[in-house]
Symmetry: C2
Subunit: 309 residues, 2 copies
């Protein structure tokens, strides 16, 4: 199985309102809820691709129960979330019917105690032997040490399991130093990590900092990959409009599935770029339009050269 | 005991953010949750005044469980909420730290099935004989017939139990026609019911429509009451600033407690006005500053005349 880690899982709630006016009172016309957090989105895409996935991280409180109830109903996904006393955070996306724009409100997440963090680390060590690959995804909840991902990367490497890291800020900086196999920053995260806004230079810098392969997701411009086997750019045939939330998570699922299927890098990147594009047109993160994905995957342009990077 | 009915209970959530910007992404710095819906607020104030209160209405889903868990921890309040398949609605108040202003997002509430509505009506009939007074409070969730309150008023009157109705729009219009003992509209609700923006004329019109007594809550201007025993205006000594949410619910608690204690109308109105003012300075609906209430209650000005209205 593929293991995805989401330390700060979420109950993602979407509200539709006619027009959001600060300091006004709004009747919500439609409410949708789904399990959220990057690693859970990655898991849903992997399961839809036919992979067995186990999800771990933390879940707690009434919101955590809703997340776990929904995961139980997701075929192909095994719930190995670790209980926490605090409540799993909510994220609220308020969609303005007039403009289609979204206003986002993100709760910080439960404070994780040292004992809960230890319990998670034990659960993670127990899950690793059965994993063919690991993805470490998203922000850290309060209480989890900022070096958390570095430790989880080291454990995976010690167990000889390929590990992908998708986070930001200081958690990414510390995690990269532990030498993960792949990182998948977006343009902002890559610039914050390296200080360079020039993607080609920044991916080189990120590799020097410890990442074995860097796959930068550059929105409509596709993916830029710098790996030990070569460098490539994967560009979808058209710029699709829709909801970009979850596009990076779909790309992670593409990279991980390609890795465990031992596809060559260009094929992994074509899959990741096609999944990413096909997720933009799906209404919610963690889903993609299968027909569009199957159309796109053969039409992604992958250019590059196979050189010792 | 006093019975309060809240057909559309809520989990009231308050978020603090630094500055709300439409189409921006916001980190919520503080999250608070409490049981909500007008009748639950009334019940908390009544319990704080030393009355035994039973709350009924609907609760369902994960949010309903949170509401019921919190009610269990409220001394003096007995939970007789009826289960519903849909989830109890959330209301989200987003407080802007810069300005102190609040933006409100209200979910519509669960759709109540005909079988659930019948189950509630049976539960209500079973609770009535033990009640010294009934308050019917707030909006109707989807699926509940718009004439619901009219039926509940009639049942209370048939059981010879005084009934107060605090709702708005068509539910108020239909409910008034069933001749409740008291209605407590605010200025907008009264104007919508009667078509008149002149409170003195509008209260007369509301009585002609069927309300035995009308107590209009006019914000900082206090209460205007038209009853079979006379007409009065109750004015607090000072205009207090704070959170007006729940001020009307505190007034309802004042009126009901005065009714079951058989206080004369001027004393009931002084209590209601003082509770209402003391709730404005409390941080959340359903609470009031006890010291301020005790100071204020002797300083509310009640003017009027005892005449056959």
């Amino acid at each position: 199985m593929i293991l995805t880690v989401t330390l700060n899982t979420a109950l993602d709630i979407t509200y539709r309102v006619r027009a959001l006016r600060p300091h006004g009172s709004h009747r919500v016309s439609e409410v949708t809820e789904r399990p959220g957090g990057k690693g859970l989105n990655v898991a849903r895409v992997l399961a839809a691709l036919g992979h067995e996935v186990t999800v771990t991280g933390f879940a707690g409180g009434a919101t955590g129960r809703v997340v776990q109830d929904r995961l139980k109903a997701t075929p192909g996904v095994v719930d190995a979330l670790v209980p926490v006393t605090g409540a799993t955070r909510r994220t609220i996306a308020v969609v303005d019917d007039r403009t289609g724009d979204t206003t986002q409100l993100n709760e910080p997440g439960p404070t994780v105690t040292p004992a809960e963090w230890s319990a998670f680390q034990e659960a993670y060590e127990d899950l690793l032997p059965a994993a063919s690959a690991v993805a470490l995804c998203g922000s850290l909840p309060p209480g989890v040490p900022v070096g958390a991902y570095a430790g989880l990367v080291r454990s995976a490497k010690a167990a000889d399991i390929p590990v992908l890291l998708d986070t930001s800020g200081e958690a990414l900086r510390r995690g990269v130093a532990a030498r993960p196999d792949i990182i998948k920053p977006n343009a902002d995260e890559l610039a914050e990590l390296t200080g360079s806004h020039e993607p080609s230079r920044a991916t080189q810098d990120a590799r020097r900092r410890g990442a074995r392969a860097v796959v930068a997701s550059l929105g409509g411009a596709g993916l830029l990959a710098l790996t030990p086997e070569g460098r490539w750019r994967a560009t979808p045939p058209a710029h699709l409009h829709g909801n970009p939330t979850g596009a990076g998570d779909a790309a992670v699922a593409g990279l991980l599935s390609g890795l465990v299927e031992k596809l060559p890098w260009p094929d992994r990147l074509a899959r990741a770029a096609a999944l990413s594009a096909a997720s933009v047109v799906a209404p919610v993160a963690g889903e993609f339009e299968r027909g569009m994905y199957e159309d796109l995957v053969d039409h992604v342009t992958v250019t590059g050269d196979v050189t010792a990077a």
